[in-house]
């Protein structure tokens, strides 16, 4: 919950608006009732004078950012924006600094000294939303841009900011509203509209078919869209010492997990975000699950295994690692069975050891236990990196059935949107059933309005009390 002060109008916020990495230019953004006063305190022209009052809104002005003692921190360009004509709808100011990261932080300090508060993640967008500058989908999209981890997510978020989703949803809502209004008019004045409802059902069915098809279209690639934006929960599962951590390191390209010969080295789950093609994997390395082959398990190891099982349960994709250089015994098979019904890829690891054993991949493939028959195992060596590109392809293929989503103008990338689209779709099917049963027209409107409202909630045109929670959950997350 937001504290009263953080939403007070006196509250002016500031933050570094550009990536906090070495770059040619860095921007500090200030928003709130005191934004102009604060700019006035930190910005001086070449003669050391305060000039903010004379600045025209939206015009860049050259000068210097100074600390409270008047010391020049950096040569900057300043701009003021007047409410409501700014991103947040409040008075705003921006300082474009030229120094490095260190200087940028000193200028920010000066701004904070002058009375601003450090903005919370996404707070500028939150204010823009609360001031009615952008709607909920646009706000969500901005948050997406901030947190986008791949090109695709960024591009789609950009489309959403333009309001593409909103306009598509709006046009469907208009159609539903039109039908509803027609029915209501006929019902309210039965004596003059008696004939109006003759042959109406087929006409309505036509409209519903259109709306429903469009929703279906949006839903078709929603699963992929959500995976693309949110990333895929992906658990690496295997018995102890199958090479799971090595696999994580191979995919992540870093020594993220500790690798050792000792079974049970990974005690807890380790998570790493990894790019695979268009996808972001939230790769979870788990403790090996097994009886320890006669070894006594320590309590910590047991907890690790419980967590591994939880990760398995939760995962959208399982990378099931098998050490094919060793024996594939009951323990492996039992664990494999535990993953039945989940989306999974079998990874035949440690093929680098096969030559020394005088075996080939083909030999091993032929002698795999019957439980693995028909699975398209990916043969790799996590140690040498052999087979990595095959693995990447296999992961993409298993999550994104085909490439058709790439042709979509607009992808649904939020679970919230997907659920509401589904809800609208359910209302429309209920309505079709009502028509099919030959019910009278006054029963149509329940589900017609049900669909209308579900669509409205996607774009924030329909508010319910959950919205406040929605907003808080949305804006308090992020980076």
């Amino acid at each position: 919950m937001v504290s009263p002060q953080s939403d007070g109008r006196q509250d002016t916020i500031a933050a570094i608006a550009t990536a906090q990495a070495p770059a040619g230019i860095g921007i500090i953004r200030v928003s709130g009732t005191r934004a102009h006063d604060i700019l006035n305190e930190v910005f001086r022209n070449a003669r050391g004078e305060c000039v903010v009052q004379s600045l025209s809104a939206g015009v860049l002005r050259h000068g210097y950012a100074c600390d409270a003692g008047g010391l020049r921190l950096d040569e900057v360009m300043a701009v003021r924006m007047d409410r409501p004509h700014s991103y947040t709808g409040e008075d705003m100011a921006e300082l474009q600094c030229h120094g490095g990261l260190f200087v940028l932080r000193r200028v920010l300090d000066a701004v904070l000294q002058a009375g601003a508060r450090l903005a919370e993640p996404g707070e500028f967008t939150k204010r823009a939303f609360l001031n009615g500058r952008i709607d909920l989908t646009q706000a969500e999209a901005v948050m997406d841009v901030i947190s986008a981890e791949n090109d695709f997510a960024l591009k789609n978020a950009g489309r959403q900011i333009d309001g593409a989703l909103r306009s598509r949803i709006e046009s469907l809502r208009q159609k539903l509203l039109h039908e509803s209004a027609f029915i209501e008019a006929a019902l309210d004045d039965p004596e003059s509209y008696e004939d109006a409802l003759n042959d109406y059902a087929p006409r309505l069915t036509e409209t519903l078919r259109f709306v429903s098809a469009d929703i279906e279209e949006m839903l078709r690639h929603a699963q992929e869209g959500i995976l693309l934006r949110e990333g895929v929960r992906c658990a690496i599962i295997g018995i102890p010492n199958a090479g799971k951590s090595s696999l994580l390191n191979l995919l992540a390209g870093t020594e993220r997990a500790i690798v050792s010969q000792i079974p049970g080295t990974t005690r807890d789950t380790v998570e790493e975000r990894v790019r695979v093609g268009s996808l972001t994997l939230r790769l979870i390395d788990t403790a090996g699950i097994g009886d320890g082959s006669g070894r006594e398990l320590d309590p910590v190891e047991k907890i690790g295994m419980e967590r591994a099982r939880a990760a398995l349960e939760d995962a959208e994709l399982i990378l099931f690692v098998v050490d094919v250089s060793g024996a594939i015994d009951r323990e492996v098979i039992d664990l494999y069975r535990e993953t039945d019904g989940k989306r999974r890829i079998v990874i035949a690891n440690q093929i680098d050891r096969l030559p020394e054993q005088g075996r080939s991949v083909r030999d091993v493939a032929a002698s795999l236990p019957v439980e693995f028959e028909g699975t398209d195992a990916v043969w790799i060596s996590a140690k040498t990196g052999e087979g990595l590109s095959d693995l990447r392809l296999a992961i993409e293929k298993s999550l994104l059935q085909d490439d058709s989503w790439r042709g979509e103008d607009l992808l649904i990338t939020h679970e919230r949107h997907r659920l509401l689209l589904q809800e609208a779709q359910e209302s429309l099917s209920a309505l079709s059933a009502t028509i099919g049963r030959g019910m009278s027209e006054d029963f149509y409107t329940v589900d017609l309005m049900g669909a209308y409202e579900a669509l409205g909630r996607i774009i924030g045109a329909q508010t319910d009390d959950d919205l406040a929670d929605e907003i808080f959950s949305k804006f308090c997350m992020g980076k």
């Binding site: 504290s3 019902l187 907003i471």
Partner: protein, 634 residues
Amino acid sequence: MDREKFDVIVIGAGHAGCEAALAAARLGMRTLILTMSVDHIAFMPCNPHIGGSSKGHLVREIDALGGEMGRNIDGTFLQSKMLNRSKGPAVHSLRAQADKLAYSMQMRRVLEKQEGLTIKQAEAVALLTDESGPAGQGCRRICGVRIATGPEFEAQAVILCTGTYGTARCLCGESITETGPNGLQRSVNLSESLRALGIGLRRFKTGTPARMDGSTVDFSRMIRQDGDIPVIPFSFTTDPDTVQREQLPCYLTYTNKETHDIIRANLDRSPIYAGIIEGVGPRYCPSIEDKVVKFPEHERHQVFVEPEGTYTNEVYIDGMSSSMPEDVQVKMYHTVPGLEHAQIVKNAYAIEYDCLTPGQLSSALEIRAIRGLFCAGQINGSSGYEEAAAQGLVAGINAVMQILQREPLVIDRSEGYIGVLIDDLVTKENEEPYRMMTSRAEYRLLLRQDNADLRLTEKGYAVGLISEERVTALRKKREQIEAEKIRLKNVLLGAAPEVQQFMEEHGSAPLKTGMSLAELLNRPELTWENLAPLDPGRRPLPAAVIEQVEIDLRYAGYIERQERQVKQFRKAEHQRIPDDIDYSDVPSLRLEARQKLSRFRPESIGQAMRLAGVTPADASVLMVYLAARRASSR
């Protein structure tokens, strides 16, 4: 001068005033009702019917809360019909043709017999107020009324039910008369007094068609329309046997091209189209000129010819209200089949009157700025007898609740059409007289005329207008409904030969698996009555119980979906906005939203969201502010 003391004074004895006065007196208040003419109590200056689409719902709700209208029409109707029977139960609507004089006389007798109620023919000319609370910062409070002849009366609450009398003007073509409806005396001084108290007024307009001499109408050229047999009474307390009496017919005829040509040729002489009338008329009860102008593609419009009473030959020409000059009216009416030689007894005319500007009322129907001043009926911007009566009842109850320092009666949009009506009057800037319509009710499937008693009787009982006996009967009905539904769900039928034969005889598909009687009631061809041979264990039940059982089971899926919507709606309604909120303190509100909220002062987030000009984003700003305020006061 010594002021005579009352608890409640009702100004006006139309449909709102009668309900308000009866409610107050029945709740034990010493009540005075003032009227311009005691011979016109509950007068029907416009159409001669009570009920109709959605208005029938209002009458039943009024009855369930302990109002009078339903009983009054049950005793005085000439014809009764359930409209929309071919549709679902939610849009069935009862409409009865009233004997206007009998209706008025019966209501007058009810008022006269009411203990604690004083009737007085007098024009109220001024409202008397004083300051309550500490000097300077308290709010203004009503304390009485002065009448034209001089005397003042004291009261703790005053209910304005002035109808269309405030500074009224009647227009018929170029002729303007400064009277209330039907030539009755208008009121001028009261509007002045309201303005002096800072109450905003505006002008609304409505109209009524001509009345004709029935002996000059050729009914053989029209389509006869008879009432229903058997008649279903409006009031839940009326014994259906008492209303099965002989009914009078109405007649249907149509306008035609000739009618429309005459209207078009004379539009420049219509006071509305010529710009003489400044008031805004209702879209939903359009004059024939409006219909012709706005629907040029319609070749004809329906005209219903309805009796005004048994005491007169006069018939009401429903569907052809007009403010055309008399010579045009005569020509126009004479083009309609059956009216070729009809004699006009009373001309059609338009009437213009004062009503409140929006934003001044609370959900209790009290003017927020003046404690104890309640308003009901056309002064609130509504139209229609039923709308007026519903508000009168609620205003009467709430005046009493305030005097007794009890919570006001507020019916929400999911509880009744009355709730929808009042919420719309309180939150919307209606630009024309507001008429009830089924489409205004979001939760229509739950707000049926058949279950008004189940929805509202308990509320009427809590207020004190419903007797112990009546609420006990209601509770028994509810129990019987629930018990029967459970029983029907538990009686299972297998695919026995006699069952299959029964299905075949009733044109119903044979059973494939076992089914309960409740499931069988989902089939439109089967009813509780005709399932009797398959249900030897049943006990006889009242028809009203059977009706509810059938509706509940048959439409269960829809009712459940609607109930889910209501749940969502209630969440926003239950987020109350404190009375003392200062919108200039709420950060980030857009100017328009800030103005709207300050003016209408909504009582809940739900209500705030229904204000035009308050966007979902504004509502979220408000929710965030209230959440923060609650957090900081904790």
